[in-house]
Structure formats: C-alpha cells, structure tokens
Symmetry: C2
Subunit: 167 residues, 2 copies
DNA sequence: AAAAAGTTTCATTAATTTTTGAAAGTTTAA
DNA sequence: TTAAACTTTCAAAAATTAATGAAACTTTTT
C-alpha cells in the first residue's frame, strides 16, 4: 500500500468509527485528516481533500473546536485561518471522555436520581422500577467516577490508586 | 412524580442515550422497558407500551438478542413468546463492552495495523502519518486490553490487578 | 390437512440527519 | 470608506436511517 491509499483508508475508517459512536462522519473525517497532517490546514485544504462544501467544513470545524480537540492557528503575515488537531493522544482521549461525561452521562445521572425517588409502596411494578433505577444510578455513577479518575490526570492512574490504597 | 411518569421518562432518557451512542432509539427503549418490567413481556405488550409497529418490534428484539442482552422466554401452556432483559447490570455492561470491542474496536485495530506498515522514507508527510497511526494503534490497543480486563471477569478487577502487581 | 396463533421479512413510506450553496457577516488592507 | 479576502449562517435539498404494515412464513392445535 502506498501513502495516498493508506491515508484515504485511515480517513474513511475514522469516519465510520465516528458515526458508530454518535459523532458525525464528516466531523470525524476532518479530525482524522488534521491528525495525520504534519502542518495545520486551511479551510480550502480541507474542503478540497474531503470534497465537502465550505459550510459543512466551517460547521464541523466549529464543533471540533467546541470539543477542544482542534485549534485555530494564525500564520504570521497570512490572513487565512489554519487548523490543527490535538497531537497528544492521551490528551485527546481525556478531552473526549470529559466532554462525553459532561454532555451525556451527567444528565443521565440527574434523570436517574430524579426518577428513582418515586414513592414505591404501591405496586410490585413500582417497587421493581425503583430498585432497578437505583441500581442503574449506582452503576453509572461508579463508571463515571472511574472514567474521571482514569482520564483526569496524565500520569499513571493505577500507580496512584495503589499508593492511595496502601497508605 | 408518580410511577407512570417516571417510567416514561426513564424510557425516553435511555432511548436518547442510546442514539447518542450509535444504538437506535427504539432498540434502547425496548431494552429500557424490559429492564424495568418485573415480568417478561410479549410482543403485543411492547408494541402497545411504546406505540410501535409489529415489524419494528420484531426486528429490534432480534438485534437485542444478537447482542445477548435480551432473552426469549416461553411460559408453560402458552404459545406466545415473552421477552426479558439481562437483569444483572455488571453482566449487561460486560456484554455491551465485549460486543462493541468485537464489532468496532477490533476491526479498527486491524486497519490501523495495516496502514501503518507503509514504507515511509518518502515524504515528511508519510513519515508523520506512519508515526501517528502507529501511536494510535498502540493507544487503541491498550484501551481495548484494559476494557477486556475490566469486563472479562465479574469480580473486582482492581483488586486482582493490585494483587498481581504486588506478588 | 386445514385453520389458528403467532412471528418475520422487506418494499415502501416517513422521519431524521447531514450537506449544500448562496447570502450575510467580519476583518483587514488600500 | 470601500473593496477584497475570508468565515459563518441557515433555509432548502439530498442522503441516510428507521418505521410501517401487509404478505409470507412457522408452528401448534383441532
């Protein structure tokens, strides 16, 4: 396989992965492209490489910047804006995890907490509901905390945890 | 909030969460409904509760069974099929993680490995590409292994890991 | 073996999501 | 202050994904 083919394959794969994870395909593709580009790219560059419109490029770049995983760069003496991706992969994972927690897990936890407070001395059905949603709350809450721990620090989390448990 | 309202809210929330994670809304809603039902439900029950068609119900139930998180049940003396959800939440998480790894992460790893083998003595661009995709392969690979470790066993993984590290 | 009770499939329709492109908006330079 | 260079927005169109429902299929009962 030569470079061009590999590059295109990478962009397609990253895009497909993105859509399976609830991120739109173009957004993931732009991110993939920027990740493997040694230099920051202009909007024109991106449009041309991915064959997408200006509007589409603009909106998805904005989303990527909202996620904190793509940055604007200005080249001295140039008016055009250039874009580059977070280059540290651990940092990338950290930001994605943090953002998904904030946007999805936290709101879900709020709902779960809320609905598990129903008075359940009525029916069997209500008792079971309350038990199940409480259990789910605990689980999701634990998972979220763990995710936070794993991603909050750049340093090795396991080591820290062990030290903490042993002292 | 009384029971009916809470139940409906739970089903909506779980459905929304599903679609953010690449699972179709109805599938997640059926799963939510079965999770909070103390008894197994028939297709009729599900159709009625969620206001969806027979075909839709049938296909999404099949998907849920393919994921291994919903089961068919037969009641003695009854011809109808009943459905129930995996009731252990740890087990549920385990199965989802395993399935997503198999369907999404593993294929991505294969592609990453494949494309990072290009001969990169040509351009700066190709050198950077090779380095980046290799780095990504290592990261995803590590993450997948960790996920496997966390979910492979029902027992507390942390404890085991610590014990292993200390001996 | 035919009817009854139930389930699955899949072409068509509906809903949702994404993309386009042209107009409006900004900023810089002359 | 106005023209040029560039970016953003958003209504409409296109593409994708999900849902319907009727016909086909399966299994059980009589």
């Amino acid at each position: 396989m030569e470079f061009k083919e590999a590059k295109s394959k990478f962009i397609q794969t990253w895009g497909a992965l993105g859509s399976q994870w609830g991120i739109n395909k173009t957004m993931a593709q732009i991110h993939a492209l920027l990740m493997v580009s040694p230099e920051a790219l202009s909007m024109e560059d991106i449009m041309e490489e991915l064959h997408i419109s200006r509007g589409n490029t603009s909106m998805n770049l904005r989303s990527l910047m909202d996620w904190g995983i793509v940055f604007k760069e200005y080249k001295p003496g140039e008016r055009k804006e250039y874009f580059s991706a977070e280059s540290n992969i651990d940092e990338l994972a950290r930001k994605i995890a943090k953002e998904r927690s904030r946007r999805e897990i936290k709101p879900t936890l709020r709902v779960l907490k809320d609905i598990s407070t129903i008075e359940a001395n009525e029916s069997n059905e209500a008792v079971h509901f309350k038990a199940k949603t409480e259990e789910l709350y605990d689980f999701v809450s634990r998972a979220d905390t763990m995710l936070e721990k794993v991603t909050e620090h750049k340093e090795n989390w396991i080591t820290k945890t062990i030290v903490k448990l042993m002292t």
